[in-house]
Assembly symmetry: C2
DNA sequence: TGCTTTAACGTAACCGCTTACATTTTTGAC
DNA sequence: GTCAAAAATGTAAGCGGTTACGTTAAAGCA
């Protein structure tokens, strides 16, 4: 009789079922390698004892965990939620479990989490964006843990990625508003240090300005953390300049929602007094009033493709192939021509 | 020379530093048990080799992982985000790592995730709400994994919890609107099956109705998944009845945001034509127009206290003590007296 | 100096599983 | 019924750490 006060091990099952531990292991991992009769007997014992194989032991012996780790900058807002959900679902279909950590946009924390996940035996890692210490990639190479980067496409980057061209997207959005007559541009961006998405979006705005004969130095740029309250505060700041912008381009929808709030607080009407744009097209974008003109990102497709690709890299032991997904401008009511 | 093509193990470090593996282990786990001289030498080798102890091996030998698992119903909306973030931060301060999974509001999936996290050696678990198969608690007991439930307070429940009284809170909110003259109530709730929060909030509404002489059966109740789109659709549905409600009470802010959108689509003004309330007081609540009257939940405090308590349970091997946190009504513009 | 304590370090068993290899049993052809 | 091949099962060696216990070196004291 196994000690009922502690978790049953494979030995308990083996003893109870009168087989060797190898056989128990086989009915779990390779069922049709064992005869139907013993298989059923063993399964019954497993059931009766409520046995769950110990992951650590399993990992040590087999070097596989069927676990994927993902480290996202934040769970506080919904930016990554949808894509991650799709990622998780696609992973689940393929028999993998997703473990998520958040780094609070801190490089040091991210590094810690990466080591943590790897030490825990993650078979692969999903990371957001390319900006990080190259030493991390060396470490990952050494540990033979495949990595895939999402939310950012850069064919020159060291890691394969499934993402979109942040710079080109933001340039396109900016050009569209410049075409509508906007000349005095302000931008509320997320903190760009260690964040290529933010950095490239800023660059995209400048690209558009240059292309249209505007002085990129005239861009009134403020960097703040990604939160509604920060967007609100930053908006007040840009509207307090001597030459007020006719449009405020925001690094993402959360910031843009904050900007719209900020406008209301100042008694300004969007888009009559000032236009606002977002980026990402999360649900928030069509809940705020006015609804946000923003850049639509194929979150779910990105998550799904990332799952597919990462699993492929793991199972076929091959390099990942990058993909540049298309984004598209969604015109809503927060921008008007001037 | 250790094989540079593979991750260094404790043996590599020991060999290089000319000590035994026991000593290496000690400099990592109990540094002042070894002399300064050897300690420094070993540390240098660890540094040079980029050695990270293997978690699985460590767990097998020591039975501790300093990892806490949390399973939340969803990452798609921000309901749990803030509390979880606080939970994670508090955990981090105490030297623990948080691993998060989401169950998509599915009991089966949650069970799977629980087993997964336990098999992975989570030292403790944070679960949301009390509704689940009691067998799960048996399993957790047997595995000696402490569990703490959050987002719901119930002193009669099997697991200790840090939460709030969903029923009383919703009753209070309902009473406040009834006091303002509302008599025809509708409610858009999340799916209440396997979800005590949703169930208790519905019960709270009925409590209030009974207390004020209204027929609880007259409540027009619709249950939908928690999403803005669902809230929107449900709103159209309740407004399509013969006797339209004067107020629509929503199970949470996400649904309420959807309801407000829905109202706008139907050309209805909130709160002039119909009032709307939410629950949770997430950022979304003050971004929508009109801002939501809702029930404020102390998310961050809840997360922090949960971390503290769970770590206490683990380290002092004691039972958890439950706490009933206070919520409070936040009056904004989405409700008006009739 | 010699002997006892204490500090520092080493030895090796063990944690719970997988899997290569060895052994036994079953199957099927003659 | 034999015997070879195939199927089923068992044996035992790791995987990479931790730690109880034993051994050696240093320290303290008469």
């Amino acid at each position: 009789m196994p000690d009922s006060s502690t978790a049953p091990t494979i030995d308990d099952v083996a003893r109870e079922a009168r087989v060797s531990t190898a056989t128990v292991s086989r009915v779990i991992n390779d069922p049709d390698m064992v005869s139907a009769k013993t298989r059923e007997r063993v399964q019954a014992v497993i059931e009766a004892l409520g046995y769950t194989p110990n992951f650590a032991a399993r990992f040590m012996a087999a070097k596989r965990t069927f676990t994927i780790g993902a480290i996202i900058p934040t769970m506080e807002n919904a930016i990554f939620a949808r894509g991650l959900q799709a990622f998780q679902e696609a992973l689940h279909e393929r028999g993998y479990t997703l473990l998520v950590s958040s780094s609070a946009y801190k490089a040091k924390v991210e590094e810690e989490q990466i080591r943590n996940l790897v030490a825990r035996g993650a078979d692969g890692l999903l990371l957001i964006g390319h900006d990080r210490d190259p030493a991390i990639y060396d470490y990952l190479d050494r540990q033979r843990v495949p990595v895939l980067v999402a939310w950012s496409y850069d064919e020159t980057a060291r890691a394969p990625c499934i993402g979109f061209d942040n710079r080109a997207a933001m340039r396109a959005l900016t050009e569209s508003v410049v075409d509508m007559g906007h000349r005095r541009l302000a931008m509320i961006s997320g903190v760009s240090e260690q964040n290529d998405r933010a950095r490239l979006r800023i660059a995209g705005v400048r690209d558009a300005m240059i292309a249209h004969g505007l002085d990129p130095a005239s861009l009134d740029l403020i960097e703040v953390p990604y939160s509604i309250a920060d967007g609100q505060a930053a908006f007040a700041q840009v509207m307090n300049r001597d030459t007020k912008p006719s449009i405020v381009l925001c690094g993402n929808d959360v910031l843009a929602a904050g900007a719209i709030s900020g406008a209301e607080q100042l008694g300004l009407k969007v888009p009559d007094d000032v236009s606002v744009t977002g980026f990402d097209d999360i649900e928030l974008a069509h809940v705020v009033r006015p609804p946000l003109t923003t850049m639509h990102v194929p979150h779910r497709a990105m998550g799904q493709m990332a799952a597919e690709e990462l699993v492929g890299m793991i199972e076929e032991k091959r390099k990942g192939v990058s993909q540049n997904l298309k984004t598209s401008i969604v015109q809503r009511a927060s921008v008007r021509a001037v």
